[in-house]
């Protein structure tokens, strides 16, 4: 349900609630301004004497494992999303809990996918009260329409870890789908029929949940090597016939964009990275698996070969293109957060330079530093950017909430954040006066690359200076906006926003950055 809440204006000028799903929350105070103190949340004490000495924690069924967890109404059930749209476990879990008559559960996935559409039925029946986690596709639409009971709480990958450590979200039961596991609960994602590469998104769940269930379709004798998740944190192991649909977990072949405009944007981005001196011996970058980001990596690779330059590390989302760079000696390491294709999985299994990481190493707010801020450049997407370089990734200009944040917010702390984006999609301009939802504060976004030119944040005088004689089409963001507005016939109508909140966007430090309001048609 959309909720009429008391809202206050936060430091970014956005109206946000101070209570979210019954939990007191802090309005955004500005970048780097929030440093909570005290101690982190901890899981309950367990003792090894209460677990089988044989190490065999296998139970006969998923139902039995869930029953043993003694799930009560209102509890929180979590899972990782490494199986993406090929997950065959979580719908089963909630079907069992629905049959057992459970109500008002909180589902806390690291992301949801279209395959989780059946969860809508569980929300309608009150089995699931609300979802906290990226809402992609049908679930996003359901929540956008104001049909979900609680507020959607959108967090970054690092923010999810922070929420658990802050005690903002307590996980009662974590379900860890594992491509390969042993009876003790050690498990890995890099092998097995449902191989997905790594299990980093499930690490926090395994460490902090009261109860942890590992679900696999490939049980091996102890020890499962490598163990990406340690069995010492696991309560029960369940064996199913099939935990994932391999084709929907990773793609056999990652496809590059064929759009000439996007290829051009990718090429401009790579040229920019070279022109301003980011591409130098021992540098690092992160690029996702979107078509443009992949093409960027390929252009950059050619330039690196030509200039005889090698990177120290690349952060992925890994794909065969990053793997090729590793194997051809263009980088010492891939620090991988999730694996997108079979080549990525193979490489992780075989190559010690292809390292599995987690949001803890890469993004965590309450860690003593993290990898994201060390990156020389990161290449990301966006649904909207405004003339002050603020960006949006969760809603579209029509107000519909359709995407999660992922690691996007966490990556903004890199030394140079670049958003290569088309300047318009059909008749919708991407550069706007004010973003529909604020997800990334403009002070952290350095460069926008569109097919109509490159706009550099005026705050980055160093980049402006460095690119002066590059011959690249550097333009003012307002100028690009004006050109596109003229082309697509802007201004557009404004969606009819109500004062009912359907979700909030958290900043990486746990404060509330913005609210998502219900739209009436």
């Amino acid at each position: 349900m959309g909720q009429k809440l008391k809202l206050t204006k936060n430091k970014a000028g956005r109206m946000v609630p101070s209570m979210v799903n019954g939990v007191k929350s802090v309005p955004f105070k500005g970048v780097g301004k929030h440093s909570p103190s005290g101690v982190k949340a901890t899981p309950p004490i367990s003792s090894c004497q209460n677990y089988p000495e044989s190490g065999n924690k296998v139970v006969s069924s998923l139902k039995e494992a869930l029953e043993k967890c003694n799930i009560k109404n209102g509890m929180t059930i979590s899972n990782h999303h490494h199986f993406r749209n090929g997950d065959l476990v979580m719908n089963k879990v909630f079907d069992i809990l629905a049959k057992a008559g459970k109500k008002n559960l909180r589902w806390f996935p690291s992301a949801s996918f279209p395959c989780h559409e059946p969860m809508i039925k569980h929300m309608e029946n009150g089995v699931i009260g609300h979802v906290e986690g990226s809402l992609n596709g049908p679930l996003g639409k359901y929540a956008s329409d104001g049909k979900m009971d609680g507020l959607a709480v959108l967090r970054s990958h690092g923010g999810r870890w922070q929420a658990v450590q802050d005690g903002e979200v307590h996980i009662d039961v974590a379900i860890i789908a594992a491509p390969t596991a042993d009876p003790f609960g050690n498990c890995t994602g890099d092998r097995g029929p449902s191989a997905c590469g790594l299990l980093g998104f499930g690490l926090v769940d395994s460490l902090y949940a009261d109860k942890v269930i590992v679900v696999t379709d490939s049980l091996v004798d102890f020890p499962c090597i490598p163990w990406q998740i340690q069995g010492n944190n696991v309560d029960y192991v369940v064996v199913l016939d099939k935990v994932g649909d391999p084709e929907k977990i990773v793609s056999g072949t990652t496809r590059l964009t064929k759009s000439p405009d996007r290829l051009y944007i990718a090429e401009l981005t790579a040229k920019f990275v070279q022109a301003v001196g980011i591409m130098k011996e021992g540098f690092s970058f992160q690029a996702g698996a979107g078509g443009t980001a992949l093409a960027f990596a390929i252009y950059l690779k050619e330039m690196m070969i030509e200039a005889g330059i090698k990177a120290r590390f690349i952060r992925g989302g890994s794909t065969k293109y990053l793997v090729e760079m590793l194997e051809e000696g263009l980088t010492d390491y891939i620090l991988d957060g999730q694996t997108f294709d079979l080549e990525g999985v193979r490489s992780m299994r075989e190559n010690v330079g292809h390292v599995n990481t987690s949001p803890f190493t890469s993004y965590n707010w309450h860690g003593k530093g993290n990898f994201a801020s060390m990156l020389d450049a990161v290449v990301l997407g966006a649904t909207e950017v405004d003339v002050n370089f603020n960006a949006n990734v969760v809603t579209h200009s029509d107000g519909q909430m359709l995407h999660g944040i992922g690691g996007w917010q966490n990556c903004l702390s890199s030394k140079c954040t670049i958003l290569p984006i088309p300047s318009f999609r059909n008749r919708i301009p991407i550069i706007v006066d004010e973003v529909t939802t604020l997800v990334g504060p403009g002070e952290l976004i350095d460069v926008i690359v569109t097919e109509r030119g490159i706009a550099i944040n005026p705050k980055r005088e160093d980049l402006i200076k460095a690119s002066k004689r590059s011959g690249l089409p550097i333009r003012k963001i307002e100028e690009i906006k004006e050109e596109v507005d003229d082309l697509v016939g802007a201004p557009l109508d404004k969606p009819n926003f109500t004062d009912e909140v359907i979700g909030v966007v958290k900043w990486v430090d746990g404060t509330v950055l913005d609210s998502i309001f219900k739209v009436t048609h």
């Binding site: 051009y264 059909n426 008749r427 082309l487 697509v488 109508d493």
Partner: protein, 401 residues
């Protein structure tokens, strides 16, 4: 579909519109709009439909529009097309604003290394075409447009010519053959088309007919700046008449060869080596040079074969061609790079131009480089090489300093 419903477009085509119009004698105008982005676009869609109908003086009828993300100038064209199917005698036009960025001029001797073909009904491909910096953009009314879309293609191309910014590319339109081609001219000539490509020209008379029609339209609409012509030779007959075709009009600035149809006409397969078309291509080059216009090579149709494209451009350059057709923006850079003068060509050209300057300064009638005399055509070619080198940033404008 009931007989009295007139439509334009395809209800499922992406980045386009589908329009149906049912004429009526009374009851005013009714407009129904289906759009996935109604929240953002309804006002403008509605006003766009209303304005178009008003400009076409339509007072009664039911208009229904399915919006799949097309541009407004396409909507305008599709509505006009449906209205004119309903009442062919309607003489009114609904013209989008003629944008200032669509009014730049061309020049006779500009470079025409790459010309990018775009189907006349595919507006989405036109929007960013100029960004890829081809020397020319061809909005095609001929082979890439299906027979049922011929009428509306004319209107979409006309509206695109008035609306879009092609960022300095020469604005070309390929018309249809024969009578249909002459009718195409009415729609496009008043809207700053720079050059008309005339397909399948077999003799001078055909080209004259096009030129005459262009001149009469220019007179009628008051257009002063010239409309250039580029005939495309695509048959044995055309090849043998290429000299008279090249010289048929003072507005001819280039002559092109189209090899798909030519090889079919002489009954052979088109090969990568191109032995079968060597005579025809050489003939076209010689006809062009004799008429002092540019010789332009055929398209290279395998978009994924960059090496093949580069080899083909290299060969074209060696034969004397100055341009190549392309069907994908990714072909533009390789074409430009291969047509670029080599370092030694640039050095040689610099020496000749300096010698020429020297001769002028001294008031000498003859240009000499060392002990060798330099003929005027050689000087002219050297100047062109320097121009091209400057355009491609291989040489600065102030190279003499």
């Amino acid at each position: 579909m009931p007989k009295n419903i007139y439509s334009s477009g395809n209800p499922t085509a992406k980045s386009d519109f589908y329009v149906e119009f049912m004429p009526k004698n009374s009851g005013g105008v009714k407009i129904d709009i289906q759009s996935k982005t109604k929240v953002l676009h309804f006002s403008k869609l509605k006003s766009s439909c209303q304005n178009t109908l008003a400009e076409l003086k339509v007072e009664h009828g039911a208009l229904s529009v399915i919006d799949n993300g097309g541009q407004y100038f396409v909507l305008q064209a599709r509505i006009e097309s449906a209205i004119k199917l309903a009442s062919p005698k309607n003489i009114y036009e609904s013209l989008p604003v003629f944008k200032k960025h669509a009014q730049y001029k061309s020049s006779r001797n500009r470079f025409r290394r790459s010309r990018l073909y775009l189907p006349g009904t595919q507006a989405k491909l036109m929007l960013n075409a100029g960004i890829h910096k081809p020397d020319a953009i061809i909005l095609d009314l001929e082979d890439s447009v299906s027979p049922s879309e011929k009428g509306v293609a004319r209107l979409i191309v006309r509206n695109a010519l008035r609306t879009l910014n092609f960022f300095g590319a020469e604005r070309m339109v390929r018309i249809n053959q024969g009578k249909m081609g002459l009718e195409d001219l009415d729609a496009i000539i008043p809207h700053n088309v720079h050059l008309v490509l005339v397909p399948k020209v077999e003799n001078a008379k055909q080209l004259k007919a096009v030129d005459d029609k262009i001149q009469s339209i220019c007179k009628k609409c008051g257009r002063k700046n010239p409309v250039y012509i580029m005939p495309i030779i695509e048959s044995a007959e055309g090849i043998l008449n290429s000299l008279e075709i090249a010289k048929a009009s003072k507005n001819n600035v280039a002559i092109a060869i189209g090899l798909e149809d030519y090889t079919a006409d002489i009954g052979v397969q088109r090969t990568t080596q191109g032995k079968e078309s060597l005579f025809a291509r050489s003939q076209v080059v010689n006809a062009a040079k004799s008429a002092k216009i540019q010789a332009i090579d055929t398209v290279f149709s395998d978009v994924n074969e960059e090496n093949g494209l580069r080899a083909s451009v290299k060969e074209a350059k060696e034969l004397g061609f100055e341009g190549k057709g392309c069907i994908h923006p990714r072909q533009i850079s390789p074409i430009h790079e291969e047509f670029a003068p080599s370092k030694s060509e640039i050095e040689k050209a610099k020496e000749i131009v300096i010698a020429f300057d020297e001769a002028e300064r001294k008031g000498l009638g003859v240009v000499a480089l060392g002990s060798k005399m330099i003929d005027p055509p050689v000087v002219k070619r050297a100047l062109q090489t320097i121009d091209l080198a400057i355009t491609m940033k291989l040489l600065t404008k102030r190279w003499k300093k």
